[in-house]
């Protein structure tokens, strides 16, 4: 209990995320309607007992769509983040630590990738592999690697520059050991906080690509897509966009809280 008191952030974050995960997994039991069942005669109904969050333009129950939407949104986000984080960390570590020409080579490729429009990447992937959420995940995921790699690299540069690392190298300690013992713990915090940012970007950028018309299953419940669609009817039915918007905000908030909770408390507490 005292552990919980010492880190309220962690508790709240895990609590919220746990709840969201539970709702997503339990969607078939929690949802009140079929999220894809269109009943146009019931379009744009206000929230009520039967339709907790009202209905959208095609008469679908917004509550059920939000509940099911968590699966898709979170699933895509995690996949996308995974595609970004793993190579991002590897490249950032290698570039920051090894330095010299490896740093130059890696960062050049990263810069080239940064300059490459993710729109074009998405279109290319959609072309070859067809429309789909996985393709968008790859497009957004790959597009996010340079950013993450750069942040990791900066943190590594900073961590590497401390005297004891030099000393360790001087006495011939192996790079892997130095990395593991000194560098990685030192960079963990900015990495985690940026991982939270990356996850948020993943959610939002994939929604942006769908907003621009780059495909995917248009009828599927997905918070980002619901927000984009909701814009078209937000004057007549604001709940269509507000509900997924709040779900999205809550999720990202919890993710960030989790990232922050790992940080040590400030010294003047």
């Amino acid at each position: 209990m005292s552990a919980a008191a010492r880190n309220p952030r962690l508790v709240v974050a895990l609590g919220v995320l746990g709840l969201i995960a539970l709702v997503s997994i339990g969607a078939p039991w929690i949802a009140s309607h079929d999220p894809r069942a269109a009943a146009p005669e019931n379009q744009l109904l206000e929230p009520s007992g039967e339709y907790l969050f009202g209905t959208d333009l095609l008469g679908r129950d917004v509550f059920s769509r939000v509940v099911y939407g968590g699966r898709r949104t979170l699933g895509v986000a995690l996949l996308t983040a995974g595609i970004t984080l793993a190579p991002g960390i590897a490249i950032g570590l290698a570039a920051g630590y090894a330095g010299r020409w490896l740093d130059w080579a890696l960062m050049s490729v990263m810069d080239a990738l940064l300059a490459f429009p993710s729109l074009l990447l998405a279109l290319a992937l959609v072309t070859v592999f067809g429309s789909g959420v996985v393709q968008i995940a790859f497009a957004v995921g790959i597009a996010g690697i340079p950013a993450y790699a750069r942040v990791v690299r900066a943190a590594v540069l900073e961590a590497r520059a401390v005297p004891y690392v030099d000393a360790a190298r001087a006495i011939g300690a192996r790079p892997a050991g130095i990395l593991a013992r000194h560098v990685v713990p030192a960079i963990a915090t900015p990495l985690l906080s940026f991982a939270g940012v990356t996850l948020s970007w993943a959610i939002l950028n994939s929604a942006a690509l769908m907003f621009l018309g780059y495909g995917g299953d248009v009828a599927a419940p997905d918070w980002g897509v619901m927000l984009a669609d909701g814009r078209e009817s937000f004057r007549t039915g604001p709940w269509v966009a507000v509900a997924p918007g709040m779900a999205l905000s809550l999720t990202v908030f919890a993710i960030n809280l989790l990232g922050n909770s790992v940080a040590p408390p400030p010294a003047n507490r």
Binding site: G99, A115, L121, L123, V128, P190, F194, L204, L248, F253
Partner: protein, 307 residues
Amino acid sequence: MIGYSIKRLGSALFVAWLALTLAFVALRWVPGDAVDATLARGGASPGEVAARRDMLGLNDPVWRQYGDYVMGLVRGDWGESLVTEQPVAEIIRQNIGATSALSGAALLIAVTLGVVLGIAASLGRWRPVRYGAEGLASLALSTPVYWTSTLAIYVFSIVLGLLPGVGGEGIRYLILPAAVLGFHTAGSIAQVTAGSIRDAMGQGFVRTARAKGLPELDVLDHVLRVGMLPVVAVVALQLGFLLSGTVITEIIFVRRGLGRVLLTAIDNRDYPVVEGLVVLSALTYSAINMLADVAYRVIDPRVRMEE
């Protein structure tokens, strides 16, 4: 110093070339070309379509198209739009001012707001301040730009009537899009700043310095110095994004800009325009990174960069 500069320049050109080649391949991989987007769509006969492709050089083997384009670039010829046949350099010139203005204003707001929020979230004396700042940063990160933009236009332009709507030019029309973009960008800056500062505060030298009785301001100064490195990285990144990725904001606020030009060019398979923008984007990133590296050295001379 000169050697270093030359190396950086070489680097920048190499990156530009790499990005260009990637874009070249991707564009030709994707189905359809500029003639499909324009002529064929209007119902032209297959003969006319083929003739036009010939004229535009789209029937040439890919390696030749590539060679021609790169040689052209080296000569300073950025090519012409396949659709409007306007010189690409002119297209860029017409739109870069608007994009720079929006990005610059947004970045200013973003850095100010972001750093302040980040400092408040990590060093704030009272808990509501810290949590409030954290919450605001989260909010900035958690909604898509297209949504806050629509909401902002509705609230500030229709409901409150404070600001003009969309589609005009001048500073008054810049406020809302810059504010929205800036707000969103501030989120990630705030996050990284806060995390970084917290991390720095937890390090040993802070306790040591305090124990020695050093003035708080000096300690703070040192903490900020150390904490800023990843922040500089994020800011540099964001600037890059802003310069090349403001498509949605430009569409919604009906502003001229390179983002919209890029989207239209991709839709129309307008190869020279897309490639030109990619090259421009690569060179911009390189320039920003150089500035960032200079900033790293200024902030923390312990960081040893490649000589």
